[in-house]
């Protein structure tokens, strides 16, 4: 198996387009004990080549912050109708270490070395990155996801 992702992209992306680095970020504020979806839309005027994923999450529970991750996500691309996970995954396995301490003095130290997770994926213009999320905590938590990649837009 010696395929290269770039070979597909070169055929998928029209020439004479302008490209630049682009960070696609979404903040998801998750109410307590809730399951829902969030969408990050790709512009109609540009496609997006994701390269890596970073992110962070809070671990609030009750009135405190015990450092235990209770957030799970699954990821889907509407453009190609692809599921990128086999179900809900605890975010501490994806974004590790990405916990942000939100209550001073509570729980273990924050671990905010945002090491990128390889995520090479081509998103079509007008597609959505669909994040299904679950907050299993009895307190509101916040999740940040940021795809690092390249945006290809038409020159006008």
């Amino acid at each position: 198996m010696t395929t290269r992702f770039e070979q597909v992209n070169s055929s998928s992306i029209e020439k004479e387009k302008y490209e630049h680095d682009y960070l696609n970020h979404i903040e998801i504020v998750m109410p307590a004990n809730t399951t829902d979806i969030a969408k990050l839309s790709i512009d109609a005027s540009a496609s997006y080549q994701a390269l890596t994923l970073t992110g962070s999450y809070t671990t609030k529970q009750g009135a405190g912050d015990d450092g235990i991750c209770r957030t799970r996500i699954s990821i889907e691309d509407s453009g190609f109708s692809r599921k990128i996970t086999n179900g809900f995954i605890p975010v501490d396995l994806l974004l590790s270490p990405g916990r942000v301490k939100s209550v001073a003095g509570a729980g273990d130290a924050s671990n905010t070395l945002f090491m990128p997770l390889r995520f090479k994926y081509y998103f079509k213009p007008k597609s959505d990155i669909i994040v299904h999320w679950k907050n299993l905590s009895d307190t509101e938590n916040t999740l940040h996801l940021c795809w690092n990649g390249i945006r290809y837009e038409s020159r006008k």
Binding site: T3, G67, C69, R82, I84, T85, N86, L93, S96
Partner: protein, 137 residues
């Protein structure tokens, strides 16, 4: 079918469970349409809030080959998965392994064996990082 028509698509395979008699395993079966590259894995372990001493074996079942030095008894990944404070379920502080790199065919099988050094039971969570080889029409 030429290789130029293939692309690699990230896929994240999650598994969780408990051991029996100190042993657990989980299997990844590649979708019949795709070959899989296994790129890395991240684990959480837990036994009453502490990280037990776990040995890991990784097997490319297609090739009847273990990727860990002495099969199921290997401690290849212990340095990564057994820090004092990390990898307790829900409190992972470590970046996923990027050391794995092997392929399985469509419908192929990769197996991960987990075994506690003291044969007592434990809980686990695992996320395997995969690139699926898809055909672009």
């Amino acid at each position: 079918m030429s290789q130029e028509n293939n692309t690699l698509v990230p896929y994240f395979h999650y598994s969780e469970g408990s051991s029996a008699s100190g042993q657990a395993s989980f299997t990844i079966v590649a979708d019949g349409r795709y070959q899989y590259y296994i790129r890395g894995v991240n684990f959480n372990f837990d036994r009453a809030g502490v990280v037990p001493d776990i040995n890991i074996g990784i097997e490319n079942y297609d090739l009847s080959r273990f990727l860990t030095r002495t099969g199921r008894d290997s401690r290849v990944y212990v340095q990564m998965i057994k820090p004092n404070e990390g990898n307790i379920i829900g409190k992972n502080k470590y970046y996923p392994s990027s050391r794995l790199h092997f392929g399985i065919n469509a419908k192929g099988i990769a197996r991960f064996y987990l075994e506690s050094a003291d044969n007592l039971d434990f809980n686990y969570q695992a996320c395997v990082f995969i690139d699926r080889v898809e055909v672009v029409l």
